[in-house]
Symmetry: C2
């Protein structure tokens, strides 16, 4: 039986003339206290605005607090320099423009690359700790190290399009739960400002006066409060936990078994913005993580589809692999390894078959006769020469698969841990101003973080969501506060 939670009627705006009285008022009201909301609150308060933050949970944190605490930063940060990596805003721009598409948001990417180093200093000044050490690569660091390659910078074709540099900056913490540390520091920063935080406050809908957002309706302690605002900032996360919305906009994402999101990611912020006239774009796009590359020796295996054919260079980032595996191959893929390249993967994946010959493995997997054998033979021939003319995997991950037994790890959506969150959302200017389907600004309304379509319109690198949240959250807070003053 399908049980749906009540997702509310967030898009049904309340016209201002129906508001009998305002219970409360603030210059800037922020919906949601994850990383985006916290950064917006700090900036808006520092700009002199009276700020009220409403959080539906009993405390701030949101999905950001559940994350690995990795922020995509670059252009020559002190950490990059300390670890001996050269980077520039231009190289970072080239990489993001090449990888965050099709259809990347050039204005956001440009602004972010140019402002990334300054943003790093802002975070540090706020008390967010980064240790000047290099970890390696991955979407998280199980140690307290900071820097890692968190995208496809070293893989074809990106390595040829932009000088690779590690840009994943993980907040210092001895385990992978560094997102909690990030949020602890950001929430402490909010507390140092004049911003008021109201927890257990579920925002119901926006109040609109002749096309302008002038406030919102929230349920606080079981009672409805109508709150007047000169500007509202929606930082309420994505929509992966709203089954009906996923079905409507991005049905393939339903195949993923794990959702990287807190309960609040039910699209409420996006729907509120749409109700007030905002357009939601790229709603089909998700970040699809297939974490098959830990330990790294597994990258020496080859990923094949149901027909025993390779479909990607296995050293490209795990989100790019996940996207290809799900969207192009229907989530029907296997990793083929031999006895030298095999390792127990970090993420749960069943072993589909182990056989003494590739021919037997092919049979066990039900692949067309000769298909996998040919794929492995071609791969082996080229790998022995350190080449991969088909997919251009980097030489260090090339190894002939010749040592029996041979194993197939099951990376089908049924049996493996595809992790997903949504990347589509409100269409915004870099300032956070929400745009209508005509490309006009909705007066009085801002948004940031996963409530918006951000730096990665598609083609994700780890750390880009916290980049969206923190950088564009700040910008939204600043702009909303100054528009108010104007």
């Amino acid at each position: 039986m399908r049980v749906e939670r009540d997702m509310g009627k967030a898009a049904a705006v309340r016209p201002a003339h129906r508001v009998a009285r305002w219970d409360r008022e603030a210059d800037v009201v922020i919906v949601g206290l994850g990383a985006a909301g916290a950064c917006a609150a700090v900036e808006a308060a520092e700009a002199g605005a009276e700020v009220l933050v409403l959080e539906r949970a009993s405390g701030g944190g949101g999905t950001s607090a559940l994350s690995t605490g990795q922020i995509y930063l670059g252009g020559g940060t002190p950490i990059q320099q300390a670890c001996g990596f050269e980077d520039s805003p231009e190289e970072m721009f080239k990489y993001l423009m090449a990888s965050c598409g099709p259809g990347p948001d050039e204005a956001k990417i440009r602004l972010y690359c140019d402002g990334s180093v300054a943003h790093f200093h802002w975070l540090v000044a706020l008390g967010v700790p980064f240790k000047p050490t290099f970890y390696g690569d991955g979407s998280y660091t199980p140690t307290d190290d900071c820097l890692s390659f968190s995208g496809s910078e070293l893989a074809y074709p990106y390595r040829d399009l932009a000088r690779p540099a590690p840009r994943g900056h993980t907040v210092q913490h001895p385990s992978i739960e560094a997102g909690a540390v990030l949020m602890q520091r950001l929430l402490a920063a909010v507390e140092r400002t004049t911003a008021a935080v109201q927890a257990d406050a579920l925002v119901q809908t926006l109040v609109v006066d002749d096309g302008r957002v002038v406030g919102l309706v929230a349920r606080v302690d079981g009672r409805e409060q109508v709150i007047r605002a000169r500007g509202v900032i929606l930082t309420a996360g994505g929509f992966i936990n709203n089954r009906a919305m996923v079905d409507r906009y991005a049905p393939l994402l339903r195949k993923c078994r794990f959702r990287a999101a807190c309960d609040g990611d039910d699209g409420r912020g996006i729907r509120m913005g749409m109700g007030a006239g905002g357009a939601a774009i790229r709603m089909d796009v998700g970040c699809i993580v297939l974490p098959f590359t830990v330990p790294k020796v597994l990258m020496k295996g080859i990923l094949v589809n149901r027909r025993g054919m390779r479909f990607i260079n296995e050293d490209v980032y795990q989100t790019v692999v996940g996207e290809a595996a799900l969207l192009r191959e229907g989530g029907e893929v296997f990793l083929i390894t031999d006895n030298e390249t095999f390792a127990r993967p970090f993420a749960p994946a069943e072993i589909a078959a182990v056989e003494d010959t590739v021919a037997d493995l092919e049979r066990a997997l039900g692949m067309p006769s000769g298909s996998l054998q040919h794929t492995v033979a071609v791969h082996n021939e080229h790998a022995a020469r350190g080449e991969d003319p088909l997919f251009h995997k980097a030489a260090e991950y090339l190894a002939p698969l010749v040592h029996p037994p041979f194993a197939a790890l099951d990376y089908t959506t049924r049996n493996s841990l595809y992790t997903v969150f949504t990347l589509g959302g409100l269409h915004t200017l870099p300032t956070g101003e929400v745009l209508t389907p005509d490309g006009e600004v909705v007066p009085g309304l801002w948004a940031a973080g996963r409530t918006t379509s951000g730096l990665a319109a598609q083609g994700y690198s780890s750390g880009l969501s916290l980049a969206d949240a923190t950088f564009f959250g700040r910008l939204a807070g600043r702009t909303a506060a100054s528009r108010d003053a104007a």
Copy 2:
């Protein structure tokens, strides 16, 4: 230099309190006079409503008039019976549910399959001519024949999921421009009703009173008219001719060189609906036609990507091939033929290379050494036995490619004729009622045709857009008229 046409501010609704006077009034006002608008007008007028149709061009027709006049109909129509094909609503349902996804709209498909025969009779009664003859297959008939396989019914996996029947019903006309005949008859039918048609009337935006659509603003003869309506039906086509919208929602579709759409398909209807609170869904999806299968002998060739690998069964329908070629292979595909299977294709496609051996062809195309040779060898070995274990192409299209010279037809997006129109649009109930992002009905607003996401949420078969337009246009007209009466 990029020059954009002014696409208007269609989403900026006008609040009713800003309307000083109403220039005109009707029960049901229909925006756009293509097939959907015409059918809505006929039904609404027959139900007793006073109907006004506004068409931005100087006469009705829209994209429907430019089409091949093929309607996807089945379940046992008189034409199917006369031509000796068995069909049932259930088999039609099975096919559409399997092919119109991921995420097909089951309610619409169910209703359409159950009502398809009756709908055929309605069209005939209106004067739309169908000749009870079978043509073969394709998205059009260059003769005046009617019936054809216009989807992937005969191809794997669909042939195993539903009993195949031809369901493309092309309006009788000796050339491929049968859409003009369809529209001529539909427009004549509109004229026989009491519905008023106002041409050269560009609708600007909707008038909304407290969440209810109560009219619209149109520019008629250079003057603004504000028209009151008890119900508005948006049948204004898709958005492929709005460059900014395509960039925002479906950037990959920009690669297609040809757009199957009249000038009016600039998303105005969709934006108006969004402005009034409607949700637009599946906006990333297009119907991507790669017409490589005429003449049919070309289907005996094999489609390969840049790595010389096959990626699909070549007998699947050309829209499914187009979708796979563009979305999965980035529009970098070639058709490999030999001297026996070669023919000049009907649609313009350059010959990329002609060589005496497959090895030379592989080199000429810059493919990895051995890749195309292996693909052809495997294909030939199986084809000689009438098998295609990799992609399950039907036996009748299997032929070993062994007769030199060998040719590669260039079906890259750069050099071939990818034809596209959009399939995403307003989220509607089968009745045409437009839904908000919360799944609530927007009072007073209906939509049909390519302004909506319809039968084919994705995975197109030819004739489904005229099916959406005519069948759901009728339903919207009937419902809008009766709601008015209620």
